[in-house]
């Protein structure tokens, strides 16, 4: 049980880290830093599926902008 809570906390940290990295990359590619920082602010208040959906969207955008 403790392990499960710890895994969940780790997953949350990883997601937040992933979001930060993606935002940093997207801003360097020309994205709007202010609007993206709002997503960062509300990220913890989103449901898990909403968090996953936002990360997936940002990943796809980064891929597109990198031209791959």
């Amino acid at each position: 049980m403790i392990l499960s809570v710890s895994d969940s906390a780790m997953e949350k940290v990883e997601k937040t880290k992933k979001l930060e990295e993606l935002i940093k990359e997207l801003v360097s590619l020309g994205e709007d830093a202010r609007e993206l920082s709002f997503w960062q602010t509300i990220f913890d208040d989103l449901k898990e599926e909403e968090q996953d959906s936002i990360i997936a969207m940002l990943q796809k955008e980064a891929l597109e902008l990198r031209g791959r």
Partner: protein, 170 residues
């Protein structure tokens, strides 16, 4: 004092700059993704009010549909920046918040929203009243004041425009 603190945060936060020139093709792609994110934010915020709409305030579904229709039309305008789109969603959510509190203070709130110093207080009022009804919606609105502070002039223009659109379309 609290208001001063609100505006001080605006000065401290400076977003990073993009590296180098962004070509038109990339700009177009960025605009498309910004539109998708705006739709997502709208979906997230409005879905949180789905279970309370109708149960607490009679006629709220009609108000909600009007707000969503005006917002949808606004968000589809291509010339809007990502920040403006986000501000339009937040101002619409604030209006919906007024209605959901059940005290129908829309007009009082609308006039106060045109005053930059009143914006944080108005949001605070809405959040405190809406939190017991729909905490998920309130939790996201709680994060709005810092974003508004960074973009206060644009926010005031957007609030103005949102209220005018609603008056014309309601």
């Amino acid at each position: 004092m609290e208001k001063m603190e609100f505006f001080r945060k605006k000065e401290e936060r400076k977003p990073p700059e993009p590296e180098g020139e962004v070509n038109p093709e990339k700009k177009e792609k960025i605009r498309e993704w910004q539109g998708k994110r705006a739709e997502k934010l709208k979906e997230i915020l409005f879905s949180r009010t789905a279970d309370v709409a109708g149960n607490y305030v009679p006629g709220i579904d009609v108000v909600k549909m009007t707000i969503e229709a005006v917002l949808g039309k606004t968000l589809s305008k291509r010339e809007l920046s990502a920040t403006e789109r986000t501000l339009f969603i937040l101002s619409s959510a604030a209006i919906l918040g007024f209605y959901l509190t059940g005290d129908l203070r829309l007009r009082a709130g609308a006039s106060a929203m045109f005053d930059a110093l009143m914006v944080p207080q108005i949001f605070k009022d809405i959040i405190s009243k809406i939190a017991p009804i729909t905490p998920g919606f309130a939790a996201i609105l709680e994060k709005a004041p810092a974003f508004l502070a960074q973009n206060i002039q644009q926010a005031l223009n957007v609030f103005n425009s949102t209220f005018i659109s609603l008056n014309l379309n309601a």
